[in-house]
Amino acid sequence: MSVFLIRRLFGAIVVMWAVATLVFFMLRIVPGDPIAAMLADAGGPDEIAAMRAKLGLDQSMLVQYFKWFALMLEGDLGTSLYGSHQPVTQIILEALPRTLSLALIAFVIAVAIAVPAGIISATRRNTATDTAVSFAAFLGLSMPDFWLAILLIIVFAANLQWLPAIGYVPLSEGFWPWLKHLILPAIAVGTAFSAIIARMIRSALLEVLKADYMRTAAAKGLTGRKMMLGHALPNAMIPVITVIGIAFALLISGAVVVENVFAIKGLGRVLIEGILNRDYPVVQGAVLIVSAFFVLSNLLVDLLYGVIDPRIRYS
């Protein structure tokens, strides 16, 4: 277990380093200049040069990179180039709980819908129910998340007034206030995710239901429910978990887009504002954190395999 973990953690760190480095250089290579964005038309050449020196942007890219990297190893991600020059870690720590809350609720809603939907369409294969579920999944996959977000706001916030349209309330101010602000954005983010998982569960189940051990279970005279939950589903989840890991990427990138529609100041907002302003440290920090989540979710998937499938026990 520990050897496996250490190897995977090491791999994760290498991936994160590669992503961070890539982003560092890409930001500086693509056209656009933070100083120009900052000073707009106001500054003359002297002011621009002074500002550049102050922010360390006059040094060569490699020097900048090593300085940034050295600081990062100490946990210092630098400060924003704008406003009150807030530390990047602080900006991220403020934004992170919002994005994580959104992703979590989206995940829970998506799985809660996908699992029963997948089971129903697999057990009623080629019936009207199956077709209806397939159609819903197809619809869910083809609707752009921002468009769904707007639709949800119009129906459930503006017209029915069941749920708030925008904003975020931290969990510390109560579970329901927190949850009710997240339900609509979570549905917008989670729908495509849910559709993918439901399709996956359906096809994995159809495969598993043909297995010899399902016939053994049937020969024991088990109920359909026991056969499904006790025998078919645990096996069907093995391939599905891989997809959940990959689809988690979809969820985070979805959150980044949808946050903007719901005016939730999460990582997505931070990232987009940072990119528009060429706020290098902020973008670098945010990307680093997002990549950390990708890598972590993959690691989690690998560990989950070991829990679900006894044939894979890491030693």
Binding site: A219, K220, P234, I238
Partner: protein, 326 residues
């Protein structure tokens, strides 16, 4: 009262509105605590007949005729839920493939106890205790530790022993064993067969032992039913069948079985030709293209099963079959 009486069982494959008969007019019966061996080359309809008895023939197949009486009840009159109630607790089944017949992600203990908890209403602990006893009975050492293991951690022979324990778990009256040793190493085939036969005898369980090896069943069964191409061609008491096989196919099978009384390598006469494609329509007796005794009648009319002494035989020329054994 006969434990299991199957009469004129017909099983059809139904595909895009077409019907194709896979099992024709099969009849056999099993007395309480006795063993019936069902023998035939692969594709002869043995598994389908057994699956029909336990109500588990796969989608696309359909019981198209005949009756199955079990323990005084007409199984065709039962609905799906009543049939499910019977499975495991009255009729159990052991399958051919021990490597894939156990769920890879559930422990041996979980797979062994779940039936007992459901069917016998045992508590978790009672079921565990009974499971330990069953594993001991099927010859598995250190049963407590085995309960915690997973199928991939034990050998094929061991898995088949677990399958036997699962079959016995809820004290069924009948066990259907579908080629339980075919997938196993030859060195342990005898042990496993011996074990199934002995446990069924001890527990008074009726046994349908399916095999494609006629030689192997001589010791374990009271009656033998020989199937060919989806039909029962001959049924007789085992002792009788070995001495006086009437159907040319049975005689062919027997001739291809090595005997202790024969010098090794002599007298082994395999039946010429291959078993028929179940999709092929063969007029008359399905065996006639391979039969050394076939007459014109054989290719024209399906032979009717009839009594010949202790035998039931479906062959137009069965009387001509002089026992070759001396």
């Amino acid at each position: 009262m006969t434990l299991l009486r199957v009469e004129n069982l017909a099983i059809d494959l139904v595909r895009d509105g077409h019907r194709h008969r896979l099992v024709h007019d099969a009849s056999f019966s099993v007395e309480r605590g006795e063993t019936l061996a069902v023998v035939g080359e692969s594709g002869s309809g043995k598994s389908l007949s057994a699956l029909a008895v336990i109500g588990l023939i796969s989608e696309g197949l359909e019981v198209a005729g005949g009756t199955i009486h079990f323990d005084g009840r007409d199984l065709s009159a039962l609905d799906a839920e009543e049939m499910r109630g019977l499975r495991g607790s009255d009729i159990a089944m052991i399958f051919q493939e021990p490597m894939t017949s156990l769920n890879p992600v559930r422990s041996i203990g979980a797979q062994l106890t779940e039936g007992m908890r459901l069917k016998l209403g045992l508590s978790r602990r009672e079921a565990r205790e009974r499971a330990v006893g069953l594993l001991t009975e099927v010859g598995i050492s250190d049963p407590e530790a085995r309960l915690l293991q997973y199928p991939h951690q034990i050998s094929g022979g061991m898995r088949q022993r677990v399958m036997i324990a699962i079959a016995l778990a809820c004290q069924p009256k009948l066990i259907l064993a579908d080629e339980p040793t075919t997938a196993l190493d030859v060195t342990i085939q005898g042990q496993i067969l011996e074990l199934i036969a002995r446990l069924c005898k001890e527990h008074g369980v009726g046994l349908v032992l399916i095999t494609h090896n006629l030689g192997i069943v001589a010791r374990y069964s009271q009656n033998v039913c020989v199937m060919y191409g989806g039909r029962v061609v001959e049924t007789a008491p085992a002792a009788e069948l070995y001495v006086h096989p009437l159907h040319p196919y049975t005689r062919g099978l027997l001739a291809s079985v090595p005997r202790l009384s024969q010098a090794r390598g002599t007298g082994l006469v395999p039946i010429e030709g291959a078993p028929p494609d179940p999709m092929e329509v063969i007029p008359g007796c399905r065996f006639h293209p391979r039969c050394p005794m076939a007459t014109e009648e054989c290719s024209a009319k399906v032979p009717v099963a009839r009594h010949a002494g202790a035998h039931m035989v479906a062959c137009w020329n069965a009387e001509l079959a002089e026992p070759e054994m001396a």
